[in-house]
């Protein structure tokens, strides 16, 4: 591979290509930051432009837009509580509260640092371990997917602030919402109440925009509008070095989680971020609060999200199986240039593979450099007078929900969930577990039922090493609180309990 690096380097040092890479990254950040325009849509829209470019330049262009949009998604999540892309849904849980406290700049910097670190880890995984890790993806079949989702759901209770009971209640609501629409296995429509649009199921974006973004505007409108000087400051953009260093372990763990989920074909970034966030929340539940501006929450989500980018390219390049919908678009781009992604790409076009590696490295660097000045501009938006800001956010809520599928129904859905989210806020029911249920539930059901079709027996879950391992970990996670209770009861500690 190394002998091809000079060729690839030559391509990337060409001023025209560099300018194009900058443009693509910039477009990616901006489009990604717009709610409703996901990374997949950004790529689909920019794809035709790459047809006329040479294969290498085309890939630099698309990878630039792809990676840029993954970071861009976190901007609107942090500033407006509206996820720009599904992968940034978890970023806002801690990012938005931090921005509300007047530390928007800091939140954006954490996101940028975390995503850059995640990007680098993902890239390293891609370059160093691609062939080995690709085989590991094959250990994942329907039973393993099903158990992975069970594991994710066991984390659900920890993923919510406050009462575990209310968290589980909200999670079950999410699971129920996930059953709406056409069932994958039988193609029957469930819980559509005769509304034809509900056959398509509840789309994640209008749901998240409503329950987080719109509900937040409703809550803000309760208070008389006064321009709070403190809350509209951008705040220092750079967090203290020691504060950043404090989150290193989180970053490493989340990057690993991101890489693992990224490699598993078709798992998707929403799962990667859900997993890494829930994992950190569980680990630090005794000492730190999440959901009210904890930088660790931002770091967990963004590192996981961006580590998944490089990792998702692994099954694509080595096996020809796209890791998520974004890389599925990249398959289209490769094919048009006569490059068939798959086992033979490495032997037939090693120079091209080297160019992809370098393009991703270049993009990570460009995103970092471009985001630094852009961040200040983005953050300044928050200091607009509330009467303009709220209206602007509402407009984004509506257009963002509409843009996902060009359907007015999704706007109504967003408003419905906005109202529901507002009442849940009032009642103290956490809203984030609903999202976890909605993401994980349909995948659990589909894979569980497929497992039973293929293997015909529940016993299969206890006969495969990976499923046994994951079930054991799940059991431990669920038992821990009980052990805690037992310990307090039988061996009361001299120290008062935290809660």
């Amino acid at each position: 591979m190394t002998e091809f690096l000079p060729v690839a380097l030559q391509l990337l040092t060409d001023p025209g290509t560099l300018a194009l890479a900058c443009l693509a990254t910039f477009l990616g950040i901006v489009l990604g930051a717009l709610p409703g325009i996901s990374s997949t849509m950004t790529l689909a829209v920019l794809l035709p432009f790459s047809f006329s470019m040479s294969p290498g330049v085309g890939m630099v262009f698309l990878i630039g837009a792809f990676y840029g949009s993954v970071y861009g998604g976190s901007v609107s999540a942090i500033l407006l509580n509206i996820p720009g892309t599904p992968g940034s849904m978890v970023t806002q849980l801690d990012g938005y509260p931090l921005a509300r406290r007047g530390e928007a700049g800091k939140a954006l910097t954490y996101a940028l640092l975390a995503s850059t670190f995640g990007g680098i880890v993902g890239l390293t995984a891609l370059v160093v371990f691609a062939p080995t890790l690709a085989r590991a993806a094959f250990a994942f079949q329907s039973p393993e997917y099903a158990v992975l989702m069970i594991f994710g759901l066991s984390m659900l209770a920890y993923a919510s602030p406050g009462s575990t009971f209310l968290g589980i209640l909200a999670g079950v609501l999410g699971l129920l919402l996930g059953t709406v629409g056409l069932d994958m296995i039988t193609n029957l429509s469930r819980f559509d109440f005769g509304v034809s649009h509900l056959q398509a199921g509840i789309n994640l974006i209008p749901f998240a925009v409503g329950i987080f973004g719109f509900a937040e505007i409703l809550r803000l409108l309760e208070q008389p509008i006064v321009v709070e000087k403190a809350a509209t400051r951008i705040g220092s953009v750079w967090p203290k070095f020691t504060e950043v260093i404090r989150t290193w372990a989180t970053a490493v763990r989340s990057a690993i989680a991101g890489v693992i989920v990224g490699i598993i074909p078709a798992a998707g970034s929403a799962i990667a971020v859900s997993m890494s966030y829930a994992q950190e929340k569980k680990l630090y539940e005794k000492t730190e609060k999440f959901g009210n501006g904890n930088p660790r929450g931002i770091v967990a989500a963004e590192t996981g999200n961006n580590a998944a980018v490089g990792a998702a390219l692994i099954p694509l390049l080595t096996l020809g199986i796209p890791g998520d919908t974004m890389t599925a678009v990249l398959v289209g781009a490769l094919l048009i240039h006569g490059l068939q992604p798959g086992p033979k790409l490495f032997t037939d076009h090693p120079d091209f593979v080297a160019a992809i590696y370098l393009a991703l490295a270049l993009t990570i660097l460009l995103t970092f450099l471009l985001a630094l000045p852009l961040m200040r501009i983005f953050a300044r938006l928050l200091s607009a007078p509330p009467r303009f800001l709220y209206v602007g956010v509402l407009v984004l809520c509506v257009t963002g929900s509409f843009a996902v599928q060009n359907a007015l129904f999704d706007v109504l859905l967003m408003i419905f969930f906005g109202g529901a989210g507002y009442f849940m806020l009032k009642l103290g029911i956490p809203t984030s577990p609903i999202m976890f249920g909605l993401v994980l539930g349909p995948l659990l059901e589909e894979n569980l039922r497929r497992t039973l079709i293929v293997y015909g027996d529940w016993a299969v879950f206890f006969q495969r090493p990976v499923t046994i391992g994951m079930l054991a970990v799940t059991a431990v996670v669920l038992m821990l609180p009980l052990v805690d209770i037992a310990r307090h009861r039988f061996w009361p500690s001299p120290v008062a309990r935290h809660d």
């Binding site: 689909a44 094959f138 034809s196 398509a200 992604p341 293929v454």
Partner: protein, 323 residues
């Protein structure tokens, strides 16, 4: 002052442009919308964007792709069927549309449309996993007949392209497979490579890389002729089992579209589909382009409807209307 005048002139022109819309002889006088009932970035979406780009040159107006996914495509297709038949809103239908007609109460039927053109058929294949040791279609038939239902087949949701292909193959080969639904082609490829299933029925492009590396063996292609990406693989017909099936894509307009508008659009689209550059780009991406104009395309789809109906009936997918 100047700018105000310019503004008035601009709006005046816009007004007359709007008036012009009603006149069929000026068609097309504004951008045409191509509704793709699938998400952005999928195979059909990429192909439609290519067609839109080429058709723009032929029609002299932009063709704007709008993605309206949901409910197996039926939502958007119903909307297009009920839209103003002025030639400014067209849509795309694919194999799954045939099944939706009988299974989904909201879905439009073929009678609700005028077919502009058939774009082509991406043939389905039947492939066996490398670990099965099956390397010809006859070996597969023998293995399946030895233990009916023991071989599993990865495909998509009931009524989907791959599901229908698998069912048609079961009938023509006289075998019995256990059909396992997967969401999309990527999980199907993974399932057959690791051996969760022994057979799969996706399209040529989905599996050709794995076929070349020996991880799976494509046994036969359900095309009218051999596929340009897999010239060494025989067709079902060559092997004595006449079967042509796969992803059929066609462009449609509402049923009441007047002839003068329809003819202009049909001519423009057919020119675009026969454009050299377009065909080369589409071919490079693995799309089979075999254009058929309006009436021929309509006959083709009716024929397809005929052959799929018994399969759908057998699978219990004929629920809301009968043939």
């Amino acid at each position: 002052m100047k700018s105000i005048l310019a503004g008035i002139a601009f709006f005046g022109l816009g007004f007359f442009a709007l008036l012009g819309n009603g006149l069929a002889q000026d068609y097309p006088s504004r951008p045409i919308t191509l509704v793709v009932p699938w998400p952005a970035g999928g195979g059909s979406d990429i192909l439609m964007r290519l067609i839109a780009e080429t058709a723009r040159k032929e029609l002299g107006q932009p063709v704007v792709v709008v993605n309206q996914p949901g409910s197996g495509g039926s939502l958007a297709l119903r909307e297009v069927a009920d839209s103003e038949p002025d030639g400014y809103t067209m849509s795309m239908i694919a194999t799954g549309f045939i099944a939706e007609q009988y299974g989904n109460p909201n879905a439009p039927t073929l009678d609700d449309y005028r077919v502009i053109a058939l774009v082509g058929t991406d043939p389905a294949v039947i492939a066996a996993g490398g670990k099965t040791g099956i390397s010809t279609l006859d070996e597969l038939i023998a293995a399946a007949k030895a233990q009916p239902g023991a071989l599993r087949n990865a495909n998509d949701q009931p009524g989907g392209t791959s599901y229908v292909a698998a069912s048609l193959m079961e009938n023509v080969l006289g075998i019995d497979l256990t059909l396992v639904p997967y969401a999309g082609s990527a999980p199907v490829v993974q399932a057959i490579v690791v051996g969760e299933v022994q057979t799969a029925t996706p399209s040529v492009t989905d599996l050709i890389a794995q076929h070349e590396s020996g991880e799976v063996k494509i046994l036969a292609v359900a095309g009218a002729e051999r596929h340009f990406k897999a010239v060494d693989i025989p067709t079902f017909t060559e092997l004595g089992y006449p079967l042509v099936t796969g992803t059929v894509r066609a462009l449609v307009l509402p049923a009441d579209t007047p002839d003068e508008v329809f003819d202009v659009l049909e001519a423009g689209i057919m020119k675009a589909l026969n454009d050299e550059t377009f065909r080369e780009t589409a071919k490079a991406s693995g799309f089979s382009i075999n254009p058929l104009g309006g009436s021929e395309a309509e006959a083709f789809l009716e024929q397809m409807d005929e052959s799929m109906y018994p399969v759908l009936q057998e699978a219990g997918l004929v629920k809301v209307r009968q043939k």
